[in-house]
Amino acid sequence: MAVCIAVIAKENYPLYIRSVPTENELKFHYMVHTSLDVVDEKISALGKALVDQRELYLGLLYPTEDHKVYGYVTNSKVKFVMVVDASNTALRDNEIRSMFRKLHNSYTDVMCNPFYNPGDRIHSRAFDNMVTSMMIQVC
């Protein structure tokens, strides 16, 4: 149950970013932006020859008081950043991993669409639906 999910392109610009409590969007955008530094740090830590060995799931990038930020990077340097509510202690690491996998799958599906130009904002409805299903159900 994420609070904010973002897909960042290789050049570190957002392809897709959505948060559930829409009023605090700016805060989440900022958190995602700052977490990109941590992502780059983790990517470069392993060296360039280890791209294959590098784990796609980066894990907890950094925790704040209210939120925890998780990262996932694909082999094409497309990053998925997920912000979850820190109070949700029942959220296990495996669940985060599964959510990232779903994200990755959906992103792959979006990529497969010939009408999608890499680098465009993602407008796919299927992707939106999948992300919505992962977001916190704040009614």
């Binding site: 599964s98 996998r101 990755h104 799958n105 979006v110 497969c112 669409n113 010939p114 796919s124 639906n129």
Partner: protein, 795 residues
């Protein structure tokens, strides 16, 4: 919901409508889609519709169950009659005309209503007939006027609530003739095929309602084919009478439908492509799609790459976003390429979109590239309730494109399983994601945590054993680790008896100090207990003039120890003195040299016993204790010897301890040494040296064993050592009274000795207690570590 009483006509009508709306035959209708169209077709203001929905409870439930639906229909009728909407009005208003629905779907309903209400002969035909889904399809075409929402209801609604669907007309193969109509338009362009259905639908509506709009739609299509179909349909079972309504009306209207207005045609197209029915691809359409496919990919079984498809569909001048969505919908297997079916679905969606239909969120089942070509079958089947039209499908097949000849037979099944397909499609899309990675998720399941070996603690058991022994001895258990201490001499007699009995029983444990029990496995608890008793017995043994028959040293719980015991226990009785089993074999007492023969034996035996106790984790250590006690006894008998015994005991204890320190855990050794040092200080070293030498070898292996077994419980060994010492000390105690009567000097000496022993024992006691605390703390810390490690293993 209040009880709803419906007249027969109403019942039929409502059931038909419900079946019409119950696309998925789930016995409940979502509060949207056809139901919405239905209500819109009722031509009631929105507020009234909302009110109806609330009254019938659909809002509460979130969906229309059968009862709610019926109530809603009744309320619609009430509203249409101009009566205020009240819950009570459901049953109170009698003679209520059937609700009329003008919307596309409602057209059908109205049509149905007509026969129902009119109770014309058609009713008979309608009985049990569900609103012709195929008719619906047609209706949809006709009801274009309604919202872009594709539901059939729109088409139905379009058909005016002309109750007069003259059933005389043979039940048209409504879908089919219309489809054929579609084909009629000829598939010149992509739009054509869609228009086909449209006009078909509209005529129905017009036929029903007589609306020109619908008729115009039909105008473009020549009646003959439909009529032919109708005729054929007439042969169909009466269930298709409803359909007949449509064709009949169509026929009537055919003349009117002379001109197909482009708008209506578009509407029809929209409708045709909007819902499952609308989404059906007519044969003509399909043919057109296939032709287009061939232009890109000659091989019909091949794929169209994404890029080529992109170029092709870009020509339709739809926005990229919509094309992207269409692609997502149509690329069923997400392979980036389009098969023939996928291409047709995509093409159909493009056509629909161009005609104004909104793209669905998920691929309609009729467009899904299933194993069987659903597109053709979809034309036939609408969902449940189309039982009556099973015949029509049979007729439709012939009209189907030759590419799907086999579909005809499968249509009925397809129709019925359309819902299944829908669900399948939904499932498949989700399963796609599932198959990709979920398999990897499974291993991460925390439940599959690494099974880590849970160390079995011996200490607790031993502690328990100690406690048990203590309890059994019934003595004060101030120091759980020093059961021997707890065994006052008074108890020793009891223990002695017990031990003797046990000895008789061959308990090797007897004679083994309780300390041995500590070091031994839980299984030997009993033995330990026995040992305890034996220990206590040893003390009494010592006290008793004749030491009890040598404990069956051979009866060592441990086979190894048995051997050792036997080898070491020369004298029987004395060996029992292994009261307190020093984990390390108690050093052979020097007493042999000093004490009288038996004593000598005893020390030796004691040493041996001690060594035995050390060797056998459980019982061997006890033997020396017994031996010690026996020595004590002997020594007490001879007051002089007592001191020596004490010393000897201490020395032997010290010696084996020293020896044990080598191989055994240093900890134990250190502790024992510390204790022994105290003892040795009080005792003469001479004997010790003697006693220890013969026993040097055994203690070592014993200690090793003990160490290996008690890695976690070094303290226990220490405890045992202490207990051994204590036992020795205690053993000496009883001897004191004996000496009392002998010499004052002896008494005094013994008193002094006793005091010294007391202090030593007290110190030993404190040390043992400290060790016990340490052990417990270690245990707690280990347990905490286990707890901490457990969750980690899940990650």
């Amino acid at each position: 919901m209040e009880g709803l009483t419906l007249s027969d006509a109403e019942q039929k009508y409502y059931s038909d409508l419900f079946s019409y709306c119950d696309i998925e035959s789930t016995k409940k209708v979502a509060a949207n889609g056809r139901v919405l169209e239905l209500f819109r077709a009722a031509q009631l203001p929105n507020e009234v519709v909302l009110q109806i929905k609330e009254l019938c409870g659909a809002k509460r439930l979130g969906y229309f169950g059968r009862s709610q639906f019926y109530i809603a229909l009744k309320l619609v009728a009430v509203a249409q009659s101009g009566l205020p909407l009240r819950v009570e009005s459901i049953n109170t208003v009698k003679e209520l005309p059937l609700p009329r629905f003008v919307a596309s779907k409602n057209e059908q309903e109205s049509r149905h209503a007509a026969p129902y209400s009119s109770d014309s002969e058609n009713q008979g035909s309608y009985s049990g007939v569900i609103p012709p889904p195929p008719g619906r399809g047609q209706v949809k075409k006709g009801s274009i006027s309604h919202d872009a929402v594709q539901p059939r209801t729109s088409t139905d609604q379009q058909e005016p609530a002309s109750p007069v669907v003259s059933p005389q007309q043979s039940p048209p193969a409504s879908p089919h003739p219309w489809r054929k109509h579609n084909r009629h338009p000829s598939g010149g362009n992509s739009e054509r095929p869609l228009t086909g259905p449209g006009p078909f639908w509209s005529p129905f509506g017009e036929a029903q309602s007589g609306s020109s709009a619908a008729d115009t739609v039909w105008s473009g299509h020549s009646p003959p084919p439909p009529q032919e179909n109708w005729v054929s349909f007439a042969d169909t079972p009466p269930t298709s009478t409803l359909l007949a309504m449509h064709p009949a009306s169509v026929q009537d209207q055919t003349t009117v439908r002379t001109v197909a207005s482009a708008t209506t045609a578009n509407e029809i197209r929209r409708q045709s492509s909007s819902y499952d029915d609308p989404w059906k691809i007519t044969d003509e359409q399909r043919q057109y799609y296939v032709n287009q496919f061939k232009t890109i990919q000659p091989d019909l079984n091949g794929f169209i790459p994404g890029s080529a498809a992109k170029e092709f569909f870009t020509k339709s001048k739809l926005p990229i976003l919509e094309l992207s969505h269409i692609w997502e919908l149509s690329d069923f297997d997400k392979d980036g390429a389009l098969t023939l079916d996928e291409f047709c679905a995509a093409f159909h969606l493009v056509v629909a979109r161009k005609n104004g239909y909104d793209l669905p969120e998920k691929l309609p089942e009729s467009l899904m590239p299933k194993l069987i070509d659903l597109e053709d079958s979809a034309d036939v089947g609408d969902q449940p309730g189309e039982v009556g039209y099973s015949g029509s499908p049979a007729e439709a097949p012939p009209s189907k494109s030759p590419s799907m000849p086999s579909l005809n037979q499968t249509w009925p099944e397809l129709n019925q399983s359309s819902e299944q397909w829908e669900t399948f499609s939904e499932r498949s899309s989700s399963s796609q994601t599932l198959t990709q990675f979920d398999s990897n998720i499974a291993p991460a399941d925390p439940d599959t945590a690494i099974v880590y070996p849970v160390p079995i603690r011996m200490t607790p058991s031993k502690i328990h054993m100690q406690e048990m022994e203590l309890k059994r001895t019934g003595s004060d258990h101030n120091n759980p680790t020093s059961p021997l201490l707890v065994k006052p001499p008074d108890l020793s007699e009891e223990n002695k008896l017990n031990s003797s009995v046990k000895f008789a029983s061959g308990n090797t444990v007897d004679g083994y100090s309780s300390s041995d029990s500590f070091t031994s496995d839980p299984e030997q608890i009993g033995n330990n207990v026995n040992r305890q008793r034996s220990h206590s017995g040893t003390s009494p043994d010592n006290t008793a003039p004749p030491p009890p028959p040598p404990r069956p040293q051979p009866s060592h719980s441990r086979s190894s120890s048995l051997d050792m015991n036997r080898t070491f226990t020369v004298t029987t009785g004395q060996q029992q003195a292994g009261v307190v089993a020093h984990p390390p074999a108690v050093p052979p007492r020097p007493q042999p040299s000093q004490a009288p023969g038996p004593i000598v034996h005893r020390p030796v035996d004691a040493d041996g016993l001690i060594t035995h106790t050390s060797t056998s984790p459980q019982q061997i250590p006890e033997q020396p204790n017994f031996a010690d006690f026996s020595q004590f006894e002997v020594f007490t008998a001879s007051s002089v010897n007592e001191e020596q015994d004490d010393e000897a005991e201490k020395h032997p204890e010290a010696l084996p301890v020293e020896k044990s320190s080598d191989p055994a855990s240093s900890l134990r050794g250190a502790k024992t040494e510390s204790k022994i040092e105290e003892k040795t200080a009080a005792s003469a070293p001479a004997n010790v040296s003697k006693g220890t030498t013969p026993l040097a070898p055994p203690p070592k292996p014993v200690r090793r064993r003990l160490k290996s077994e008690d890695e976690l419980r070094p303290e226990v060994d220490e405890h045992t050592q202490k207990t051994g010492v204590l036992a020795a000390v205690l053993a000496s105690q009883p001897s004191i009274p004996r000496s009392v009567g002998k010499d004052k000097k002896a008494i005094q000496a013994s008193i002094r000795r006793n005091k010294e022993t007391n202090t030593v024992l007290a110190r030993l006691n404190s040390e043992l207690q400290q060790q016990l605390k340490d052990v417990l703390e270690e245990r707690i810390s280990l347990e905490v570590q286990l707890e901490q490690l457990r969750p980690f293993s899940h990650l």
